[in-house]
């Protein structure tokens, strides 16, 4: 059971399901002899590499990183937009957390319905065999950088459904999970604490570099 964050590392990411396309293969190894044969996207990639190398060589990359990283990190950790996605009991508590009594909007959480506009996937219930491919699709539809929060016992390990024939033993068996929030169901206060923990984690593990994402 590994809770290691895999988002930033392209080689590990590829292992998670995004396949290496042909064009990517070409890109990693630019043809040295025939520059003119580059397609436009290859050319852009090449420029990107060239700029990166130049920045690296002159030491500009470090300077830019030093300044931009904390700022981007600050923005990322204070504006986590979770996906509006409910599985079971914890989804009710997730909704209740945005009710006036707990008001999770204070922490800047805005539930977005489209996975394209989200940063955090909250898995708030048991993942069944039928749901697993769909959940994985949702995870892959989200843009980088992204985080996964396993909310409640069911998402952590299967919880009360540990001996079921159709429930997966935890969300981390098939996707990287960043924060585990125990509870059955998780109380809204615990959800808030989970998000503060996620902020802490984002702060400690600084996200990708500026020039090469």
């Amino acid at each position: 059971m590994s809770s290691k964050r895999i988002g930033g590392n392209p080689s590990l990411r590829r292992g998670l399901g995004s396949k290496t396309t042909d064009s990517e293969k070409i890109m990693e190894d630019p043809p040295a002899g025939d520059w003119l044969a580059l397609r436009s996207d290859q050319f852009l990639k090449w420029i990107d590499n060239a700029v990166y190398n130049a920045a690296e060589a002159t030491g500009m990359r470090e300077v830019v990183d030093r300044v931009t990283r904390p700022i981007f990190n600050y923005a990322q950790r204070f504006s986590p937009h979770p996906l509006h996605f409910g599985i079971m009991c914890c989804a009710i508590e997730m909704g209740q957390a945005s009710a006036p009594d707990h008001d999770i909007d204070r922490l800047g959480l805005v539930y977005r319905s489209s996975p394209r506009q989200c940063d955090v996937l909250i898995v708030n219930g048991p993942v069944c065999e039928k749901l697993r491919p769909k959940l994985k699709t949702l995870y892959e539809q989200m843009p980088e950088p992204k985080w996964v929060v396993a909310m409640g016992e069911c998402a952590i390990s299967g919880g009360p459904y540990w001996d079921s024939y159709s429930v997966v033993a935890g969300a981390d068996t098939f996707m990287p999970v960043d924060v585990y929030i125990p509870g059955c169901p998780v109380r809204p206060e615990a959800l808030m604490h989970g998000f503060l923990t996620l902020q802490k984690k984002i702060r400690e593990k600084e996200p990708g570099l500026f020039l090469r994402r």
Binding site: I71, F72, F78, S79, R112, S114, Q117, R203, R213
Partner: protein, 410 residues
Amino acid sequence: MSLFSFCRWMAEWTANYMLIPVFDFQKNLFPPFSHPAGTIADWLGTDGGLDTLAWTFAVNIAFAIGMTNLILVIHLERKIAARIQDRRGPMLSFRSFRELGEDLAGEAPSWRFKDNYSGIGILQNMADGIKAITKELIVPAKADKFLFTMGPIIFISSSVFLLVLFPLSDRFAASSAPAGLMVIMAAFSIAPIGVLTSGWASNNKYSMIGGMRSAAQLMSYEIPLLLSMAGVFLLAGSFDPVTIVEQQQEGTWLFGLPMWNFIPQFLGFIVFMICILAEVERVPFDLPEAEAELVEGWTTEYSGIRYMLFLAAEYIRGFAGAAVCTILFLGGWAGPWPIPPEIWFLSKVYLILIFWIFIRWTVPRIRTDQILELGWKKLLPLSLINILIVIFMVEIYPYFSDIVNLPEVF
């Protein structure tokens, strides 16, 4: 001093002391050739060059003011919505900068979350915006890549264009065309093309339905909107915002209050307010992005900064819509003396925006067929009646009052 003369003064100063010496110096570096730097230096010395430079400054100032307002509008929306809903809304405080400072200085991170959420939360917009820059930009595999990128460009550029079109007062205008309001409305109606384009190009059924709805909404709302504006134009005899505002100061009403257009043209005012809500796509008319049935509507497939800019562009359109409403019906920048007219104008705009926020958070969304029915069957006849009333006021009543000596009412 008007905005333009201020900018003109600034342009002269910049040209004389900063630009022309630089270009002259470059010209002297290559004396044998007619270098473009020389041409530019010559041109900057002329009236036309200085005017162009001045317009550039003016447009930038107007744009900066609009964008500053945008942050305020989004913040207002979130906070007022929260207060309506008996909660507090975003509370990210300036104290969170302490963490940022520590990170920038490279000191050991220490965790103090207690301080971060005790402010008014205006930084939340900043965090959202900067975060959007860092997000991956996804283009769906089967999307039409060219149109997928063109859609946002059309939508956002046409919305940002709106910011420089309306004057904040007669002296504070980045552009002053005689057909000013017509240009604004034309710019307003470009955006649905962007919506339709990006909705179609996303290769997503929700997006496509959202785009279609946007087009249908445009069809049914543009006509009553323009007809309700026509009343004001008839009354003022001009499309120029300055003339329209000045015309509203002429007549007086109870206790010598100025008769702004929303009094004689109450019908037109109501029709305009409904239609402009539909035009800027706010609840109850936000059908293209009805999140209950079409996940995020036509923005479903857009991620990162593109989506954030969509959101920003919508608020810009809201701001511009409220500004048009102020110019047409609420007397524009007119107000008692000690407060400058620009502040009057902005406060009226904000009043309308807050009214819209109240509407947005207290009514449900209505359905496509109902919105079309409302547009065609109710608002269109009402706006026509409004025009008839204005024609009676402007043309027929004065004609008869000349003949039979009627009291001068209008």
